[in-house]
Symmetry: C3
């Protein structure tokens, strides 16, 4: 991170100022730090408020949805700052920390929040804290391998968080929910209520509105940063419109479903995240947004029941349709766009070599997807087995999706 302004040494807890930075004028510093600070607040709103309220859609699990999200995020950011410090900013036994470290840490934590979405209502807060520590470590390691060995750019390697978070969560859910038969009572609690859907829309809208910040945050080149903002905006806008159309079309009565709207509007932002910085034509961004929303709603309709009944994987928030499938689409489209860009641009001048180089880079990206899938599923299985220990006192089946298991209610109301 070349824009770092102030840095500090963590392990021995005293600060040093990097000499390279000394030369920066005060006024320049101010403008740099402001750029980062505004985006830092957008990301904070996404992580703490956006995901929190997104997860508040269940009738009886609103408190836990919001509050456990805060707990995970607060633990996750601290742990991710330390992990990122060790892996990416460790020099002379010092860890360099600046505002960008916190932003990066908050983005890494998003992978945990996505996994938590799969498990929402089925694990207790202590399990969630363990999950957080473990998943942040695994995701940072994944990002480190992608950046250091596969030489994938920093802003792209971060976006694998959507794939990582989803499959990590699904692997845990697979371990967990093996012997479940007859979930009739649980199903009822899992439903949403109109009011809880409205709270959930607050979260969705903040995620939707600030997604351009998320996708452009780590891009350092200014022109690419702006590209990322425009493309994400276009993709999200198309995605929102498509969500309405698809929701009506896939319903037999021709009615809208709020869960579709919530999930599919975000899909465009997820899909575009990999390649937002490099797309030069709005129609590509828009097409990706369209495909993302379609795949998300179709995935929601078909895969959800399939996951549930065939694989015995229970995905509370429909994370697979919201983040998983669109992210895979994003990864694949990134490979295709890289190939196209390389071949279209350089073929005439570079000839045969360009074909090879472009092919090699595409292969590396494909490898990165598979590596991420492998590490996330592996890590998820390992974590899932650990979470089954009696030490954690996991909640019983009949306590799933119920706030009353964890919260003392001021009033014995059973409304939300």
């Amino acid at each position: 991170m070349r824009t770092s302004v102030r840095q500090l040494e963590m392990p021995f807890m005293n600060r040093t100022c990097d000499e390279r930075e000394e030369g920066i004028l005060e006024s320049e510093r101010e403008s740099v730090s402001t750029v980062v600070y505004a985006a830092f607040q957008d990301i904070n709103v996404m992580i703490f408020l956006g995901f929190g309220f997104l997860f508040a859609f269940m009738r009886r699990y609103g408190f836990s949805g919001i509050a456990f999200n805060l707990l995970i995020a607060a633990v996750g950011v601290q742990w991710a700052v330390i992990m990122d410090g060790f892996l990416f900013r460790f020099q002379n036994w010092m860890m360099l920390i600046n505002l960008m470290s916190i932003v990066t840490a908050a983005m890494s934590t998003a992978s945990v929040l996505i996994s938590a979405g799969v498990l929402l209502g089925k694990v207790n807060p202590v399990q969630l804290v363990f999950l957080t520590v473990f998943e942040v470590t695994a995701f940072s390691a994944n990002r480190w391998v992608l950046t250091e060995f596969l030489k994938i750019e920093s802003q792209v390697s971060m976006m694998y968080l959507f794939i990582f978070g989803t499959y990590f969560g699904l692997a845990i859910a697979w371990i967990q929910s093996r012997p479940i038969i007859g979930r009739e009572i649980k199903r009822d609690k899992e439903k949403s209520e109109p009011i809880s859907e409205l709270f959930s829309m607050i979260g969705t809208l903040f995620l939707w509105m600030f997604f351009p910040t998320f996708n452009s945050m780590l891009t350092e080149n200014l022109a690419e940063k702006q590209n990322a903002v425009y493309n994400t905006y276009y993709a999200l806008a198309v995605s929102a419109v498509t969500a309405f159309a698809m929701s009506v079309m896939t319903n037999e009565k021709g009615k809208l479903n709020m869960m579709h709207i919530r999930n599919a509007t975000l899909a465009g932002g997820v899909t575009i995240s990999f390649s937002a910085y490099m797309i030069n034509y709005p129609w590509i961004a828009m097409t990706l947004g369209l495909l993302a929303a379609m795949i998300s709603i179709l995935g929601f309709k078909s895969m959800q029941t399939c996951l549930d009944s065939v694989f015995q994987i229970h995905d509370t928030c429909g994370v697979h349709a919201t983040f998983g499938l669109p992210a895979l689409l994003g990864g694949i489209s990134h490979v295709i766009l890289l190939l196209t860009a390389q071949w279209a641009g350089d073929f005439t001048t570079l000839g045969y070599q360009a074909l090879v180089e472009g092919g090699y880079q595409a292969l590396v990206e494909v490898g990165a997807i598979f590596f991420t899938l492998f590490l996330s599923i592996g890590g998820g299985l390992f974590t899932g087995i650990n979470l089954k220990c009696k030490i954690w006192r996991p909640p019983q089946e009949w306590n799933y999706f119920d706030d009353q298991c964890y919260w003392e209610f001021p009033h014995l109301a059973s409304k939300l």
Copy 2:
């Protein structure tokens, strides 16, 4: 827009960079884009979250209020980018697009959201999309005439959106609601509930807090931009206090009415929008805020019933009192302030000529108001007649203001 940093060509979908911009240093670019980006996010929050939750006040129409707002805004912004591109940024068969284009498009879309407020609960999503496309076109044409022919400054010509949106909507409502007799059942559904009022307050507060950004966004001169921020803030603060006082005073039991608070607090921002950039004395801004809140609540009390019973126009959100009347007051006060500024400042030096010039400019502004009224009512009547077609399958009277007409509920709850 001289601050544009990157531009792109839409019709043939490949980008060019304007030569004038080439000279800008990277660091300068960064600061320029940040200024625009922060405001861009404020405007996004107003359009997507602010209006959305503002429209969620009905007991049984919360889903539609929020989600249809998202649909309209997503369609509207995309169409407005194209319309603005053709009308204002079209050179050499290329359309120049930058971050300011999206901001301008989002502001234009606000006019549609205001019209949608009049029709809230009485039209279906397909009708809303048609309305959006038509109204964005009409409003962009209106702004083009005002800017190109009447030579009204860009930031002022945009603010006619409040007048345009209101009367466009009212004209449609007039066409629509002709033969309505006996609305007893509808009236009940139209009511708010305490919880839906609280959701609505989220929207109101975000609109209220970010109104200074809205009013200062298009002003290019920095001193005028800051003026616009201060004056809008003063007007809004006075407007909020006045809303409380007026609400108590106009109620026979001396009680407050949440609908008054919601509507009248915003009135100050609407009224000041025309002249925020040019007012040099806080007391003028404060007086306008006071008058705006008064006219809004008095309008709400008297005009609302009058509109309903005499003109047979049904205005769901009380848009006429929140946006229409304060905007007319704003337009008139802008004329008066222009005259005063011209005559007070230049009379001694320029003599007779200043009188004439000031008078001419004032006349042009009066003309602009009438032109906007004419085009909005005309466009509204035309759209209204089109919307009555059976093709759109407009909702039946007994389905008005009811989410169940459009949404599949997870739970057969009839709470909100």
Copy 3:
């Protein structure tokens, strides 16, 4: 405020531009004003939305919680701009006003909102307006004494608002609630409902997320400003995690309590506010966050009942535990940190003199805490006696905590 860009003269209502500022280039101005503008919006969100929704936790007092907060804040900011102008920016019979004046005024108003939290539900809006005018005056005077006579830095003197607001409110509550016996019915209305707790979480999260802006806003030195951001963030993160742990530990059934989470997560930000700019080691910030959350929850458990039964002071929002105790801890820790910094850094070079100087500065800070306590309790007692006058028509006991006393309901629902 050296960063002021545009200034205006209030009493005679015509503007002048300070000559010192003339030399600033347009581009520099832009960046300065943007820095302030982004933070200005964060502070606005905290004051108008954050506190408003934080106060919406009572079942039947949601409307009043949010709307009266808006009323107090709108009146308070205007009055504080004038008071600050007279005390801090008055030159040649002119009052200089810029964006920072509004930010400072909004921060001063926070002291009133905290006092209003103590009295929430027990006073009417007219009493609140009187309270606002009086408390803003007293707090500005307090800040003036601290800055001018005790030579305390501007950013520190502002943070006494937490102590001032709490004890001002408690003093009024002590005067008010003397002869109250048997509060059974009131107790029931005072309770929260799950839905109102969720609304309250919206406010809490916005306060929590934007606290770094609040604590770094008035610091002018850029390195110290960034320090303030980091330290506040660390303290808040630790505070949030501690809140969960402590809430479980202090509950006999091992359950979480939403009121604890809401209160204790903010405690870290309050405690760190005094010394955020000067702490050089993350672990100090983290320790303060830990202690703050602990003291807040323990205070909530023990002091609350003690305050209520022994001192007959009724504190509706638990302001004493959320803001009062953590702020006292913050004041004391600031004294200790000042002593440590002075003695550790300078003793070897300056010898005996450093000891004396450090001791003197620490003594001044202790004096500032006692002066603030004295003025706030004195002012509170005076205001409390005034508020008991029959002129204000204070609400009767059985109308406490009830919206129906002030609001006309569209629907006779008794839900929230």
